[in-house]
Every structure is written in structure tokens, then in C-alpha cells.
């Protein structure tokens, strides 16, 4: 446990000092500010525009951090050979993988927290109502980022950075289209195609479950039961990916 916390703390500190993170957060803040300007151009829907764009900006930056910093968590350590000195210490490979994940999870939570605070301040200063549904939406944004981070980490334990990024982005996109996959499977006459699409539907994470931004932006609260189930689903999926990542990493040679 001691080693796991040390790796997590080191990952947090290293990532925090990387300037790319500040650029991303700055980009999000620009988008939030732009939402106010765009809102003034619309009639009647101003609050919704600010909420929509603000949540989208937070979501986008959280996913970019999750994928692009996530794939570097392990692959960068292997490419730069820092992994050699780490694994030469009394630390298991599982502790290393989990420590890296926790460190970045903390980064995502802190960053989303900062962006959300500024977003709320923007909403409030623009004179709009701060709905409780915004908190619900941002909670599921964090869960989605944790899941996508799990995907990135999982792929990076057995493939190169470029391939890991490609696969993580691919799964992220498919994850938002799983409803369509099911519809294609049902309508397709070919049994083979049906089987492939159904398999994809069950294997890929259903990220649309975690997307309540539209509803939240309109100020409509989401059922707490659904929120809890969606959170549990996202965390369980991320947990499974982490178990897979640890198992693959355990067998890997450097």
C-alpha cells in the first residue's frame, strides 16, 4: 500500500508539472468564456447554451487528459526505461499499474474540479440558475474519464503509444454509438454480421449511459437511482480494465 501511494503521488506530481495540462485547462476556460459570448447571441436559450458549452468543454478536456496522459502512464515509463529502476524495488507490478492509475485519476478529478468551479462561477456571474443537475452531469463526466483512462492504460500495457491512442479513441467513439450497434445487429440479415455487432455491443463500454449533459444543461434533474447505477457501471468497467491491465503487465518482459 505504501508503494502504491508513493507511485500515485509521484504520478500526480509529475503530471501536474507538465505544461500541457495547463494548456488544456486554459483551453477549457476559453471555451467556457466563449459560451457566455455565444449565449448573448441567442434569444431565450442563453442559460442552456452556457451550460451546454461549459459541460462539453469540461468533458472534452477530461477525455483528452484521460486518453493522452493515460496512454503515456505506462508506455512512457517503458520507452524511457524508468520502469527498470522502479520494478527493481520491492514493488509488485500490480501496485505499479494501480499507483499510476490512481495518480492520474487524482489529476483528472482536480482538473475537472477547477474547471467546474470556474464554470459554476461563470453561470452564476451571468445571472443564470445553478441547477443541481450540473453537479450530476460533472460527476458522470469524471466517471467517464476514469473509464476511458482505464481503456488507455489497458491498451498501453501491450501496445505502442500510437496504437494505444488509436484504440482508446476508437473505443471511445464506438462507446458513444453502442445504441446504433444494437440497432444494426437487429436489422442485419447476415447472421455473421449480427454476431459481430452484438459482440461489439456487449464488449464496448456504453458511454452514452454516462452522458446526461443535454438533460443537465436544460436543468432537468436525473433520477438518483439511475445516477448511482451509471456510476457503478462506469467504475466496474474501469475496475475490469485495471484487472486486465495488471494481468497483462504481470506477464510482460522488459
Amino acid at each position: 500500500m505504501h508503494c502504491l501511494i508513493a507511485v500515485a503521488a509521484n504520478t500526480f506530481r509529475e503530471t501536474l508539472r507538465d505544461k500541457i495540462l495547463y494548456n488544456l485547462v486554459f483551453f477549457a476556460l476559453l471555451l467556457i468564456a466563449a459560451s457566455v459570448l455565444l449565449g448573448t447571441l441567442t434569444i431565450g436559450e442563453q442559460a442552456r447554451i452556457v451550460n451546454d458549452l461549459g459541460l462539453a468543454a469540461i468533458n472534452l478536456v477530461a477525455i483528452i487528459i484521460a486518453i493522452f496522459v493515460g496512454i503515456g502512464l505506462v508506455s512512457k515509463e517503458i520507452e524511457r526505461r524508468t520502469i527498470y529502476t522502479i520494478l527493481a524495488r520491492p514493488i509488485t507490478r500490480g501496485q505499479f499499474v494501480l499507483g499510476k492509475y490512481l495518480g492520474l485519476a487524482l489529476i483528472v478529478i482536480v482538473n475537472v474540479g477547477i474547471m467546474f468551479a470556474i464554470f459554476l462561477a461563470t453561470v452564476w456571474l451571468s445571472g443564470h440558475t445553478v441547477h443541481g443537475s450540473l453537479f450530476q452531469a460533472v460527476e458522470l463526466i469524471v466517471i467517464e474519464a476514469l473509464l476511458v483512462m482505464g481503456l488507455a492504460l489497458f491498451f498501453s500495457t501491450f501496445s505502442s503509444s500510437v496504437l494505444s491512442a488509436t484504440m482508446a479513441i476508437g473505443f471511445y467513439i464506438i462507446g458513444h454509438l453502442t445504441g446504433d450497434l444494437k440497432a444494426i445487429a437487429e436489422k442485419n440479415s447476415s447472421q455473421g454480421m449480427k454476431a459481430v455487432m452484438t459482440a461489439f455491443y456487449y464488449v464496448c463500454p456504453n458511454l452514452e449511459t454516462l452522458n446526461i449533459k443535454g438533460q443537465a444543461a436544460a436543468g432537468i434533474p436525473v433520477d438518483i437511482g439511475f445516477q448511482a447505477m451509471a456510476t457503478a457501471y462506469g467504475l466496474m468497467y474501469a475496475g475490469l480494465l485495471l484487472v486486465g491491465a495488471c494481468l497483462i503487465f504481470q506477464r510482460r518482459e522488459f
Binding site: 507538465d18 522502479i86 520491492p90 514493488i91
Partner: protein
Amino acid sequence: MEAILIEHLTKTYKPMWPWQPASTVLSDVSLSVAKGEIFGFLGHNGAGKTTTMKILLGLLRGTSGRVEVLGEPAGDVGTHARIGYLPESPYFYDYLTAGEFLEFYGSIAGLPADVIRDRVPPLLERVGLTEARHRQLRKFSKGMLQRIGLAQTLIHDPELIILDEPMSGLDPMGRKEVRDLILSLRDQGKTVFFSTHILSDVEMICDRVGILAKGKMLALGRIEDLAGEHVAQSVEVVCDGVMGAEIDAIKRLAMRTLQRGNRCLMVLPGHDCLEEALAALRQAGGKLVSIIPHKGSLEETFIEQSLRRG
């Protein structure tokens, strides 16, 4: 108990495709390193030195053979608390300062925070990086990275220190400091297993050496035995005041001569003809400056063994 025990170690990489041949990087390698010994592991680039070290640490797994480190099977995570390892050309976390870096490596070695706090300043001083304590590692030169790498190897006061090319990237002064550091570790009762291709370093500090080529152990033993066993000895004579025809009688005895102005250097094939050469020198009225007997060097042994191996 041996610090390192390797018996009939073989490492073969399976091919990616069935029609490709398997590649064997280590073949039936056996060696042992006693506790408190400095062991030099020699070999050309690609000989299999780094692979052997990685197997000792569990970063790679041997295909067959027995490997024990400090009495436990290689790769045993618990044993790692007693091992320090420096890889070749280390590259560390860019954004950590030297102090933070050592604190991190101390903490993953399981050291309490107060022990780490006490150990970091003297360790930085020992590797000559006290001034750079608060500097981020991305601003370090290659030599400084090598030094901080050595410091992380020692932060948890390990019994066994495994160093992969510790002198690479260092200037002559830095190399001397590393040599002194390794010798001081032996004085503290530590075992040092290090690889290098800079043979003069090995000759000066190692108790025993192993020579590896193309994945096979060519020679293993004490330096004196290895160097003496394979190479004929020679004697170097330097004299002044003999020039031109006066020196012809001596030249006939020498394997090679080098005349520069008034001074002449001759390399004789052994002690047998030394008396005759000195008599001829006296007769010619020359003045003896020095006589240096040359024992076979490790470098000559290494080259000879490598050539024999092809």
C-alpha cells in the same frame, strides 16, 4: 551463501512468426558472485550483459537454468529491498528535482520518511550533487543523470549493487569517482556486480571478472589468472644517449623500437634477453632511464578470447 548464482542460464526469444528462427541471446551461462566481492562483467555491446542483469532483477525471465539472487529466486519482489540497480544510460522523471527523486525512490524501497530525510543530503554529497538538490532532472547533463542514478541505487543501503555500464557518459574525473565509490562499497561489505567495456576500470577494481561474448561465457576468474594465463609478458626499456648505428645491436633483440631524438624506447619479448640488451646498452655508452615489465593485460585477454570465439 552466494550473492548471485547463475547455473546454465539460457534465454531464447520466440520468433514473432513461425517461419522465423528463434534468437538465443544467452546460452548455458553459469557464474557465481560471492558476498562482498566486486565482480566485473565484460563483453562487447550485444554480448548479453544487460539481458543477464535484467534476468537477475526479474525484468526478463530465463528460458531455462537456475538464477538465485541473495538466496532467493530471481525476480522475488521481497529481495529487491536488498538490491540496488542502475540501468545503462538511465533516464529519469524530468520534472522531479534531485531531492524529490531520491525521496521517491526511498519511499518505494519502503523506507520511512524520516530515514529518507536523513539519507538524502549525505547521499547527494557523496555523488557530488549537493548544489543540484533543487534542480529538476530535465536540466541535468548526462554525467549528472548518471550520478543521480547511482544515488538512487544506494538510497536504501542495499547489500547487492548491480550496475550496468556505470562509467558510461562520465568524464575521466567522474569515472575515477565511480571507481572510488565502488571500492568504498566493498569496504562496507557490499557486493558489486557491474558490467562495462572499459577494461582499465575493471583491472583496477575488480576481484573477479567474467567475459561474455555472443551469449556465452568465455572466461571466468581472477584478473591475474586470466591475464597471466593467456598472454606472453614483455619488458619495456627506455634509454638515453644511444643513436644511429650504436643501437643496432640492441634493436636486434627488441620486438619494436621507437627513437625520438636522444631517447629510445625498446620493447623486449621477455626477461630472457634483458641482460644481453643492458650489456649492449652499457657498451654503447647509453644511459638507462627505465625498465617496465608488462604483464598481460585484461584487454589483451579480452581481445584474444573474442577473436578466438569469432
